[in-house]
C-alpha cells in the first residue's frame, strides 16, 4: 500500500509532495548533547510507520521532537503536517493540529482519577472518541474509572494512555512502546485497535522494542542508530531480511 | 593531600589563602580615599564573613545534600550564642569551653527537633522546623527573659560569678583564648593603606577552614553520597536496604552543630546573644545565603554569606554625604542628579539593592554565585572546554535535582 519514499535530502519537499507528515532533517539537543542528528522521513495519510532502533538510538527523542515538547530542543529542520509547519509550534499547538503522543512512561497525571485523565484530554478542541466509546474498547478502564490514575497497574496505565490519545480528534498518533508491560492478549487487542485506527485514516508512528509485532502492523519501517536514519523502507523487507535485522536491530 | 582529591585540595588551599590574607584583600582601597567606603577589611565584618560562612556551610550539608529545607536553623545559632554567653558569665572568659558548650547544646537541640521534624518531608518538614524556631524565638523574647534577657539580649555584667577567672578589675572582662584577647588588633600601615589583623578574626578563620575542610570530607564521603541519594530517591534508598532516617538525622545534627559553632563564635567575638538571632528572618537569611552562593556546592554558601553580609554592612552605611563626595568632581547640577539617582539604592535603600541582587543572581545565574564564577572562569579558558571545573560536578547534580 505504501509507496517507498525516496527523500531528497537537503531539500524541503513537504510543500511540493503530497506527503501527510514530513520530517526534514531535524536536529535536536538535550542541553548541549546532540541527540537527534538530522532525521528525515515522510509518511502518507493513514500509513503506519515503525520507528525502530536500539536503546538510546533516539526514537523517543524523535517522537518528542515531533510532538514539539520542550526537550529535546529542535535547533534545525522542519516538520510539516498537512501543510502546517509543526516546527514553529509549541506542543499544545501541535496537539491542536492533530498530533498525539502516547509517551513511553505513560505519564498518567497524578492526583486525577482515570476519568478525569480522560476528561482532561477533551478540554481543548478537537475532541475525538466519546468516553463511552473508549470504555467500550477498554472495559477495564470503565471498572476503574474512579480510581486515581497513577495507582492503576502498569498495563492499565498503558491502556489509559492510549485511550487518552483517542479521546482527541487526531491526525497522527505517536506511540512510544505501546506494548510495554501489556499481557499478550491485550497486545493483540491493541494491534487490532491500531488497525481500526488506521482504517479511520489516522497516521501512526509506532516505536516498539517488540520489533516483530510492530513490523507486522506497519507499512514502512525507519531504523535509527545514534540519532540518524540508517534504514528507510518497507516493513515487510525488514521482516524478511534477516541480515538487515541483525545489522541494525541485532535480532 | 589531607585525604582530598587534587581539585578539592586546590580549592581548600585557595580558600585558606583568601581567608588568611582577607585583611589585605578586603581592604583594597587606601584609607581615606573616596572608595574606602567599600573596604570590608575591618575585624567585625571579617569575623561575620567567616562566622556566617560556617553557618552556611553547615546548613548546606543538610540542604545542599539531602534537599531537606530547614527554615529554623537560626534557632541553633541562637542556642549556640546563649550557651556561650552563659559560659562566659558563669565559668570563664576563655572561648574554648564556651564554644564547646555551644556546639554540644546546639547538637542536642538539633537531635530533638530533627528527630521530630524529620518524620515529615518536603514543605511539611520546613514548616515544622520553622515552627520550632519561631517558638524558641518568641519564648526567648518574652517568657524566657530570665535566661535570655529578652529583647536586649544576654550580656555580661560586672556581677557575673565567672568561677574560673576570679576578679577582673573594674571593667567588663573580654573574651580570650588562653590570654590572647579576641579583640586584640594590630594595624599595619603601608603607604596610604591600613590593614587590621585581629586575633578574633584569625581564630574564627581557622575554625572556618576546619569546618570547611570537614564539609569537603563529608561531601566526598560515602555518607555524603548517601545524603545525595536521599535527595534523589528516598524510596529507592529504602528498598536498597538503607535506613534513611538516621542519615538525615545525622545530617541535621551535624548542620545544627555547625550553626551552634557559628553562634558560639558570634558570642565569642561580641559577648551578646539576642533573640533576634533566632527569628525566622535569620533562618531565612542562611537559606538565602546558601541558595545565592549555590546550594550543594562546596564554596557557594561561603560566597553567599559574604555577599549578604557585605551589603548589609557596607551598602547600608553609604549616605548622601558620601555620594556627594564621590561625585564632587562633576558640575553641581549633574552631581545632584547622580546623587538623586543613586540615593534610593544606598543607605536606607540597601534592602532594595539586596532584593534586586537576589533577583538578578537567581535569574541570570541559576546555580548561584558559584555558577557565575564558573562562567567567568570558562570565559578565560575557552580553549580547554573539557577542563575539570572545581565545582562542576556538584553544580550539575544540583541542576539535575528537583
Amino acid at each position: 500500500m505504501a509507496e517507498t519514499a525516496t527523500f531528497d535530502r537537503g531539500q524541503n519537499n513537504a510543500a511540493t509532495h503530497p506527503k501527510f507528515l514530513s520530517v526534514w532533517d531535524i536536529q535536536a539537543y538535550y542541553g548541549e548533547s546532540y541527540i537527534v542528528q538530522g532525521v528525515s522521513f515522510d509518511i502518507h495519510e493513514g500509513e503506519i510507520l515503525a520507528l525502530l532502533g536500539r536503546n538510546g538510538a533516539g526514537k523517543t527523542s524523535t517522537l518528542r521532537t515531533i510532538a514539539r515538547l520542550d526537550d529535546p530542543a529542535l535547533r534545525h529542520g522542519e516538520i510539516w503536517l498537512d501543510h502546517k509547519p509543526l516546527h514553529k509550534m509549541k506542543s499544545h499547538e501541535a496537539a491542536a493540529n492533530g498530533i498525539a503522543l502516547v509517551p513511553e512512561d505513560r505519564r498518567i497525571i497524578p492526583g486525577l482519577t482515570v476519568e478525569e485523565n480522560l476528561q482532561l484530554a477533551q478540554i481543548a478542541p478537537p475532541i475525538g472518541w466519546s468516553l463511552e466509546r473508549i470504555y467500550g474498547l477498554f472495559p477495564r478502564l470503565k471498572e476503574r474509572r474512579k480510581q486515581e490514575g497513577v495507582t492503576l497497574s502498569g498495563g492499565e496505565q498503558q491502556m489509559l494512555a492510549i485511550a487518552r490519545a483517542l479521546a482527541r480528534d487526531i491526525k497522527v498518533l505517536l506511540l512510544d512502546e505501546p506494548y510495554e508491560g501489556l499481557a499478550p492478549v491485550i497486545v493483540q487487542e491493541i494491534a487490532k485497535t491500531l488497525n481500526i485506527i488506521r482504517d479511520q485514516g489516522i497516521t501512526t508512528i509506532i516505536v516498539e522494542q517488540n520489533a516483530v509485532a510492530a513490523l507486522k502492523l506497519a507499512d514502512r519501517a525507519v531504523i535509527l542508530d545514534t540519532g540518524s536514519v540508517v534504514y528507510d523502507g518497507s516493513a515487510q523487507e525488514v521482516l524478511e531480511d534477516e541480515a538487515l535485522r541483525q545489522r541494525y536491530l541485532a535480532i | 593531600m589531607l585525604g582530598l582529591e587534587r581539585k578539592d585540595t586546590l580549592l581548600l588551599i585557595a580558600v585558606a589563602f583568601i581567608t588568611l590574607f582577607a585583611p589585605i584583600i578586603l581592604n583594597p582601597f587606601p584609607a581615606g580615599s573616596a572608595l574606602a567606603q567599600f573596604n570590608a577589611g575591618y575585624p567585625d565584618l571579617m569575623q561575620r564573613f567567616v562566622i556566617f560562612g560556617i553557618f552556611a556551610i553547615g546548613f548546606n550539608i543538610l540542604f545542599g545534600l539531602t534537599g531537606y529545607l530547614s527554615f529554623g536553623h537560626a534557632a541553633f545559632l541562637g542556642i549556640g550564642s546563649y550557651s556561650a554567653v552563659w559560659m562566659f558569665k558563669l565559668l570563664s572568659m576563655n572561648v574554648i569551653p564556651a564554644i564547646l558548650l555551644s556546639i554540644v547544646m546546639a547538637g542536642l537541640f538539633a537531635l530533638v527537633i530533627g528527630f521530630v521534624s524529620l518524620r515529615r518531608s518536603g514543605i511539611y518538614f520546613s514548616i515544622l522546623t520553622l515552627a520550632f524556631a519561631q517558638m524558641s524565638y518568641n519564648l526567648a523574647y518574652s517568657v524566657l527573659t530570665p535566661i535570655t534577657n529578652g529583647e536586649t539580649g544576654l550580656q555580661l555584667t560586672l556581677s557575673d560569678p565567672r568561677i574560673l577567672d576570679g576578679d577582673t578589675g573594674g571593667g567588663l572582662p573580654v573574651t580570650s583564648l588562653f590570654g590572647a584577647e579576641m579583640r586584640e588588633t594590630t594595624t599595619l600601615f603601608i603607604g596610604p593603606w591600613s590593614w587590621d589583623f585581629s586575633v578574633g578574626y584569625y581564630f574564627c578563620a581557622v575554625l572556618m577552614l576546619l569546618a570547611f575542610y570537614l564539609s569537603v570530607r563529608i561531601f566526598r564521603s560515602p555518607f555524603g553520597m548517601m545524603l545525595r541519594a536521599v535527595k534523589s530517591n528516598q524510596q529507592r534508598m529504602n528498598y536498597t536496604g538503607l535506613n534513611t532516617r538516621p542519615y538525615t538525622l545525622a545530617a541535621f545534627v551535624i548542620s545544627g552543630m555547625y550553626a551552634g559553632l557559628a553562634g558560639g563564635l558570634l558570642a565569642a567575638m561580641d559577648p551578646l546573644a539576642g533573640a533576634d538571632r533566632m527569628q525566622w528572618t535569620a533562618s531565612g537569611e542562611v537559606v538565602l545565603m546558601t541558595i545565592l552562593g549555590g546550594a550543594g556546592t562546596l564554596i557557594g554558601p561561603v560566597l553567599g554569606a559574604g555577599f549578604i553580609k557585605y551589603f548589609e554592612n557596607i551598602f547600608s552605611k553609604i549616605n548622601d554625604g558620601i555620594l556627594h563626595q564621590w561625585f564632587a568632581f562633576m558640575p553641581d547640577g549633574l552631581e545632584n542628579v547622580m546623587v538623586a539617582l543613586i540615593h534610593p539604592f544606598i543607605g536606607k535603600g540597601w534592602h532594595l539593592t539586596l532584593g534586586i541582587m537576589f533577583m538578578l543572581v537567581v535569574i541570570f545565574l541559576p546555580g548561584g554565585l558559584v555558577e557565575g564564577a564558573q562562567r567567568t572562569g570558562r570565559m578565560f579558558r575557552r580553549r580547554d572546554r573539557n577542563a575539570d571545573h572545581v565545582e562542576s560536578d556538584a553544580a550539575r547534580q544540583r541542576a539535575a535535582a528537583e
Binding site: - | D44, G150, E151
Partner: protein, 413 residues
C-alpha cells in the same frame, strides 16, 4: 584612647534604624544629626547653638576639627545595631556613637561602646533599664524614661479621670513594655487607682482584638496601652473600633491612655488618637527659645517640624561636642567627667541636669493629648502640661533602677 582624632577632622557615628518599623523615626534622627553637624561646623543659622547656655561651641567644629559623620542601620535589632556600631568604630574611626530607636538596641550598643571605649549618646530609649540596671559609664541618655512618664502622667490622669479608677494594661511583651507597665502601675496605684489586669501581648501581633475584647467585661474603666510604634497604632485603632471610648464602666466614661507618645504614631492612628493622653520627651510646640530656634532651622531645612526623635539626637550631638570642648580633650573619660553632673539650659525643656550617678538627664516632661480637631497634619498632638523636673526626679537607687553599676569610664585602647 580609641579612635583619637589625628587629622583635621573628627568622625561621629550615627546609628539609626533605616529599615524596619522605626525607619521613619530613624530618618528624622538622621536629619537632625545632619543639621547638628552643619551647625557645629558653622553652617546654617546655628540653631540651638545660639540658645545653649554653654558658649563653648563656636561653629568651628569640635576643638577646631571639622565634624564628619558616618551612618549605619540598626534595623532595630541588637545584633545588627552592634555590627553597625562596630564598623563605625573599627572602620571609620568614630569616636562617639549616637542614635537608635529602641531600648534593646540602646542597651546593646551602649554595652558595646563601653567595651570599645567610645562615648554613646543614646537616641530614643525609654526603658528604665538603659540608665538603670544596664547603665554604663560611657553612655548618656537625653531621652526620658518610663518612670518619668509615669510620674508626669499620674497627676494629669488624676485631674482628668479622678482617683477612683480601674486600669487594664496591655503591654508589649518585652523589657521596655514591662518597665513602662511597672512604672505606670506604680504611679497610678499610688494615687488610688487599681490595676485589674496586666496582659502581655506579643510584639507585632497586628490584630489585637482578642486582647481588647476581654477588656470590656473586666470591670476596668481605663485601658493603658504600653505599646509603641505600629503596635500602638493598631491596638489603639482597634480599641476605638471596639467602641471602648463610647462605653461606660463603673458609672464613668471609659478612657484610654497611651503613656509614651510620638507625633509619628499619632499620624498613624489618625482620628483614633483624639483626646488620648500620654507623655513626650519634647514637643516642637514648646515655647522656650531653644525649641523655637531648633524648630526654625529644622523646619526651614526640611519643610516640616522636627519630631522628638530628631530633637533628642540633635541635642545629643551638641552636648557631646560641648563636653569635648569644655574638657578640652576627646578622651572619653574627660568627656564623661565633663558631662557628669552637668547643668545647662537652652536646649529645650528648660534647665537640664545630667546626673552623675546614672547618666540620666533630668528635665521637664511634656504631657500631651491627641488633638480633637487638628488644624493641620503637624498639630495632631496638643500639650496639656509641662511637668517640672522636680516632679519626675527619683533617687539613683530607686528600686526600678536598681541592680546596675556604671563601672568605670573606658577610654579603650
Amino acid at each position: 584612647f580609641t579612635n583619637a582624632p589625628t587629622g583635621s577632622a573628627v568622625t561621629l557615628g550615627f546609628n539609626v534604624p533605616q529599615t524596619g518599623a522605626y525607619a521613619d523615626e530613624g530618618a528624622d534622627e538622621l536629619r537632625a544629626f545632619e543639621l547638628a553637624v552643619e551647625h557645629l561646623n558653622g553652617g546654617g543659622d546655628g540653631g540651638m547653638l545660639n540658645t545653649f547656655s554653654s558658649k563653648a561651641l563656636d561653629g568651628t567644629g569640635i576643638m577646631g576639627k571639622k565634624v564628619e559623620f558616618v551612618t549605619g542601620d540598626t534595623q532595630t535589632k541588637s545584633d545588627a545595631a552592634r555590627a553597625s556600631a562596630q564598623s563605625m568604630i573599627q572602620k571609620d574611626g568614630a569616636i562617639m556613637i549616637s542614635g537608635g530607636s529602641s531600648s534593646g538596641v540602646a542597651v546593646a550598643v551602649q554595652g558595646l561602646c563601653q567595651e570599645a571605649g567610645v562615648i554613646f549618646m543614646s537616641g530614643l530609649t525609654h526603658s528604665n533599664d538603659t540608665t538603670g540596671k544596664d547603665r554604663k559609664a560611657n553612655g548618656f541618655r537625653h531621652f526620658f524614661n518610663a518612670y518619668m512618664s509615669a510620674a508626669a502622667l499620674a497627676p494629669v490622669l488624676q485631674n482628668l479621670y479622678g482617683t477612683d479608677r480601674k486600669a487594664y494594661h496591655l503591654t508589649a511583651d518585652y523589657t521596655w513594655g514591662w518597665t513602662q507597665e511597672e512604672s505606670i502601675a506604680a504611679a497610678t496605684e499610688a494615687m488610688g487607682w487599681q490595676t485589674t489586669e496586666k496582659v502581655r501581648t506579643p510584639l507585632g501581633a497586628g490584630d489585637f482584638s482578642s486582647y481588647i475584647a476581654p477588656v470590656l467585661n473586666s470591670g476596668a474603666d481605663v485601658l493603658v496601652l504600653n505599646h509603641y510604634g505600629g503596635d500602638m497604632v493598631n491596638s489603639l485603632t482597634q480599641a476605638v473600633q471596639f467602641g471602648l471610648r463610647e462605653r461606660q464602666a463603673n458609672g464613668q466614661d471609659f478612657q484610654i491612655v497611651v503613656p509614651l507618645y510620638s507625633e509619628l504614631m499619632a499620624r498613624g492612628a489618625g482620628s483614633a488618637i483624639a483626646g488620648i493622653p500620654g507623655s513626650q520627651n519634647w514637643d516642637w510646640k514648646l515655647e522656650d527659645e531653644g525649641t523655637k530656634a531648633f524648630v526654625k532651622s529644622f523646619g526651614e531645612k526640611y519643610g516640616f517640624p522636627p519630631s522628638q526623635a530628631a530633637h533628642t539626637c540633635y541635642v545629643q550631638t551638641l552636648l557631646y561636642a560641648d563636653a569635648v570642648t569644655r574638657a578640652g580633650d576627646f578622651n572619653p573619660c574627660a568627656v564623661v567627667e565633663a558631662l557628669e553632673g552637668y547643668e545647662f539650659d537652652g536646649l529645650g525643656n528648660g534647665p537640664t541636669l545630667y546626673r552623675a550617678e546614672d547618666h540620666q538627664c533630668f528635665k521637664d516632661v511634656v504631657v500631651v493629648k491627641g488633638a480633637e480637631n487638628p488644624q493641620d497634619e503637624f498639630h495632631l498632638v496638643e500639650i496639656v502640661e509641662v511637668t517640672p523636673t522636680e516632679q519626675v526626679t527619683y533617687a539613683p537607687d530607686h528600686p526600678m533602677f536598681a541592680g546596675g553599676a556604671l563601672g568605670e569610664c573606658n577610654p579603650g585602647a
